[in-house]
Symmetry: D2
């Protein structure tokens, strides 16, 4: 289905150069200083194929705040914890609203539409927490990420988390609102604390691509050999990334890139080419829907040159 033998090293390198040169870079998130101060000229890209070959471009080894990309991994953990019972607390449909909209919650009795909008990710975090201490839960999430990426240097940026907490009134509104419908079990502050901290994990493109590799290979990390989830679950997580991974820009991402992907307000995107590779890009400037502007364009270029869109080459 793909173009024969794409030269991945060359493609990644060229895309990184092209993206670094572009002048349309979007707008860096400005609601907390730690994100606002990131240099918009940054661009990084990492691609790891199923043989474990790594192709890097630009700032592929610079850690950035993965923010909402963590939601892919907390979803994986929550499904591991309670399986399909999770879907009593969160839906599986695109929201048709901005990432932090509260309107839908009122119409649908406090059940968020999917695990990748803020409300849904808070509900998922609450499931992982489930009565334990926030610190313990957070440790588990961090270790899971280090395990997936096989890299113990991944860390949580506590200043980012503290800033998020100071300004996170909208997320506090979402959490309290869900709590009023009984969707949140733990004390709101505990759930939000874990949420803000796992969004504040700092990772490089290389680490992120590696952490997501199991999703490109039917649930098993082909490098380490670890089986993370069943192939059915891997497919389903990919499906959710496709339909809901870019908030109210998910349709656009599917239309232009044609891969499952999850973006974060720090400018990162994790994209999965099933059966082929895991790819992470980072470009701090965002478009109007809150997704990385150049990150999306870079991935669009990638699928054009490789023929890896799941919708045809």
């Amino acid at each position: 289905m793909s173009k024969a033998d794409p030269d991945l090293a060359k493609i990644v390198s060229e895309i990184a150069q092209e993206m670094s040169a572009r002048e349309d870079r979007g707008r860096v998130a400005s609601y907390i200083p730690e994100l606002a101060n990131v240099d918009p000229a940054r661009f990084g890209m990492a691609l790891i194929d199923l043989d474990g070959h790594v192709h890097l471009g630009g700032d592929a080894d610079v850690p950035f705040s993965i923010q909402s990309i963590s939601k892919v991994f907390t979803l994986t953990l929550a499904l591991g914890r309670i399986g399909d019972r999770l879907w009593q607390k969160v839906g599986r449909e695109p929201s048709g609203n901005r990432f932090n909209s509260i309107i839908q919650l009122e119409h649908e009795m406090g059940v968020p539409r999917n695990p990748f909008i803020n409300a849904g990710a808070i509900a998922v975090t609450d499931v992982i927490l489930s009565g334990r201490a926030p610190r313990e839960t957070l440790g588990e999430i961090l270790r899971f990420m280090q395990f997936l990426a096989d890299d113990e240097t991944i860390f949580i940026d506590h200043e980012v988390a503290a800033s998020e907490k100071r300004t996170g009134f909208r997320n506090a509104a979402l959490a309290n609102y869900m709590k009023s419908f009984g969707v949140i079990d733990n004390p709101v502050d505990n759930t939000l604390g874990v949420y803000f901290h796992h969004c504040a994990m700092a990772m490089s493109c290389r680490q992120l691509a590696r952490a997501g590799l199991f999703l490109a290979n039917n649930g098993r990390n082909p490098v380490s050999g670890h089986s993370v989830v069943s192939s059915e679950r891997a497919r389903r997580i990919n499906a959710l990334m496709m339909t809901c991974g870019h908030y109210d820009g998910s349709g656009e991402f599917a239309y232009r890139v044609g891969l499952p992907g999850k973006s974060g307000v720090g400018g990162g995107i994790l994209a999965i080419a099933p059966g082929r590779a895991s790819i992470a890009v980072w470009a701090p400037g965002l478009d109007e829907t809150g997704n990385s502007h150049l990150g999306r364009i870079a991935l669009e270029e990638l699928t054009k040159r490789t023929g890896w869109s799941v919708f045809g080459h």
Copy 2:
């Protein structure tokens, strides 16, 4: 990526038998007599691969009302007519609402979210009409479908169209509402007339699978050799089917089936397995989101047994 050499004939035949035997059949659409009177025991399935091999199951040669599945083909025609200017009149995002919701139109200045909800499909129809006589436009749509399926027996069921018109007040509301924002150019009655009639095309699963085959093969019908659209456009239409093809059940369809698909209230679904096959199923009973209940289950079984989900095998 797929399971080695799935025996497609056997798979289709088995699924058809299983579906025919099931007792949970959903509820047949009841708002017009022509749909309400269809036997809920019907089940048909047709799969055509890129070599042109045809595999049939159940009532695969019985014509049914394709209803909203026609929207895939009117979208194709409208893009052929005015290209990407179409996207000034209709968006590319999932709606997060029911197929006939009018709320989103008010918040977004009369521009429907995507070409597959009713409002979007009416706007697309208006583009195809563009000042010509409704009868002429309708003839063009019908001939396009006959050309794609290579079958001149495809026809429009005028009684269905007349019934839709008699009861189509909600669609009239959508059309007038868009007209008030300048999104509809033609007289509302003309646009609605064409819309109701192309939704009333009657086709069998075999015809429908064949008409959609170009989408599985990067825009070119591998049997006739006709190039219908560019490979990029084929990918993009598939992407829209994935994120928006099942109204407010699109996320669920992606999650369970993992293929681009478009459903109709007559109980049909057209699904595309890129690089492999075009599949049509028909089971008249619907689920709560207005999509074919057994049709979706049949396609879920198909991807399970073939490993054809675009999200991994």
Copy 3:
């Protein structure tokens, strides 16, 4: 409760002079030429007390398009026709949305919130029509108005009605939408035809104030002696004018003026001072909520100088 013996002639005359001199005049409605061409410098005012004394100011004898003010009188007719059964088709609560919003209809099953928003007034018109010919119904409405104002020169401006019909797609959307829920009984075109025509009645401030006088006197016209409605019904119509008479500016009108009132997009307002007088003002320029800018200010001045607010002097 009022200030002792206000000199009404002087007050009306002074307010008319002050309003004519003001430079902030709002924006004249521009969606049809007949309204757009009205001179924004116009200002008229008429006050008729329960003894039948008439006080005029400015252009009090110039006919203007009463538009939505007609809704007070069609409500009166519909209540006369079917009594409290009317409230199965329309609510009695402020809408919290613009005059032509369709959102609320979707959430509340096609039942408009009150008889004074467009959807509600269309539903009320449908009740009056109830199976008869539009022309006959329209004749009845016109004669009712002539009877109330004791003036046979009141007429319907058919050019205004024709223009409204040509551009009234949003009202057509509302009517079709309600029809889809079974709230509209007659063919949509008939109901809309009557609606557009009764909104196109042309009346002067003098005529309008006289037509509304029964509402200031517990349902009986003190000049003609005719009993129009019961005192209970008069109170209730006044209550609806207070809470819903100025669309999404109703709270503001109550806050500033303190009288029941109904505005029209032609720049007119009918206000009722229960137990005292009926007042009509006309100033074509509108504020952001679609209500007459200087009309509201004139009435605010009136209640300041007379102490006639129902909320205290």
Copy 4:
């Protein structure tokens, strides 16, 4: 305007008897034990005219939780504190939604529609707090109420306040949401703490009617002679009570009762007959809109028998 010389003592006494005998009593609020345990058979009524005559019926001297009725008095305090600048933080229009809806806040940038829905009252409380200690502010509110009612026995029920706080996630959502738009200045917990406590004031009908008497007499308490607010402000507070005082049942209250009024979920209603009297009723059972069922009926009877509706006798 009123019926000549209504025998108020007799009317109040008869209504209290009639209401005590009725079997349709609505449903007592059940979200906190302190309210759920109130006897639904209770009914109290107190009417104080401008001469200071007091007429009592039923349980007129039993204290109950005034809940949202406190919002009339905190509005009065906030207007005294910052005057019309208050209207930058809260609107003056009916909401068209339930008392605790959050939808409108999203569409209107965190500015609540009026001071009597929960969000608006929280914003008003925040203004009164304005940087001071919660305890101090709460003392001020309590003393203001004691001063208005000339009764130092009025108290805050701290158990009610504590229960509200334990379950008040929806109010916490509203407050955090407004905070995210900068509408709330103080720490959310402080503002909510004061809000929950002033809603937990316990008062009898007699005390409440007396506290509201200034609103019936153009801002001046006719018994004590104290001038509380200007006559213009008294009119305006009454207007807000008329259009917004009963949440999404405000139109109904105006339609049936015809007086400005404010209800509380404890079953109390304060109603103002401008120029005549202040009336408080208490019946714990609520209707679907969250307002006292028999309280509204009692006041409807009162205006029928006295002719005191502001909309005509």
